[in-house]
Symmetry: C2
Subunit: 140 residues, 2 copies
C-alpha cells in the first residue's frame, strides 16, 4: 500500500518512470524532490549537482529534466523569453512571478478561479490553463 508519500526514494521514482537509476538521475531526482516544491532552472540544478560533488553535464541535466516532464514528475513554466523553469509541483496550480528576483511562488489551484472561459477556437481543445500574476516590489 503506497501511503501519502508517493515515492519513498529516488530509486522507486525512477523505476516508476521506467528510467534506469543512474548515478546522475538519482542525484538529480534527490535534489529536485527531497526538499518539497521547487521551481528551478536547468542551470541552477546543474550548479547544485556540481556543488554536491555529483559530476553531471548540463546536457544530462536537460535530458533528465525532459524525461521527468515526460513521466509527469515535472512541468515546465514559461514566464520569460529565453529561460525555462522546471516545477516539481505537478498538481493544478498557478504562479506569482516576481520579476526582480526571478522567483516563482505557487498559488494553489483551488485558491483561484478562472471563470467564463470562452469556447476554444474551432477544432481545438483546452490542454492547460496557466495564470501568471506578475508582481513588482511594492512602491513605497
Amino acid at each position: 500500500m503506497s501511503g501519502s508519500r508517493p515515492f519513498a526514494n529516488a530509486l522507486e521514482l525512477l523505476r516508476g518512470a521506467s528510467l534506469r537509476p543512474t548515478r546522475q538521475r538519482l542525484a538529480l531526482a534527490r535534489l529536485l524532490f527531497d526538499k518539497g516544491d521547487r521551481h528551478v532552472t536547468a542551470e541552477q540544478l546543474h550548479g547544485e549537482a556540481v556543488a554536491a560533488a555529483v559530476p553531471v553535464s548540463l546536457a544530462t541535466v536537460y535530458n533528465t529534466l525532459h524525461q521527468f516532464i515526460g513521466a509527469g514528475l515535472l512541468r515546465e513554466v514559461v514566464v520569460n523569453p529565453g529561460r525555462s523553469y522546471f516545477d516539481t509541483n505537478v498538481s493544478d496550480h498557478h504562479h506569482f512571478f516576481i520579476e526582480e528576483s526571478g522567483k516563482l511562488v505557487d498559488i494553489p489551484g483551488d485558491h483561484i478561479a478562472v471563470a467564463n472561459v470562452p469556447a476554444p477556437p474551432a477544432g481545438t481543445a483546452i490542454r492547460r490553463v496557466d495564470v501568471i500574476i506578475r508582481v513588482e516590489r511594492e512602491p513605497v
Copy 2:
C-alpha cells in the same frame, strides 16, 4: 477632438511617443497598426518589411518594438521559451495559444474572470495578470 481612432496615421503615433518619424519606424508602425490587432514575432515583422521593400535591419526591428512597448503601443506576450510575441492589442485581455501553429487568439478581458486571487507576496504589488489557455488540435 481626438475621435475613437486614436492615431489617424503613423506620423501622429510616433510624435505622441516622442520618437523621430524615420522611414523605418513609420513603415513598421504602419505594418503593425494598420491592420487591426496582431500578434507578431520580430522575425515575422522584419520579413513583412523586407517584402514591402522597406529596407530595415533586424536590430532596428527589435529596437523599434521595444520602444513601442516603452510607449505603451505594444505589449510582449511570452508563451514559449526562446521567442517573444508582440501584441498590438494593449487593452486588458488574455490569450488562447495554439501550440501546433504558434498562433495567439485574443480573449477579451471582460469575457474571462480571474477570481479569488490571493494577496501577492509581502512587499510586492500586482503589475499584470496573464492568462494563457493552451489548446491543441482536437482529437477526432
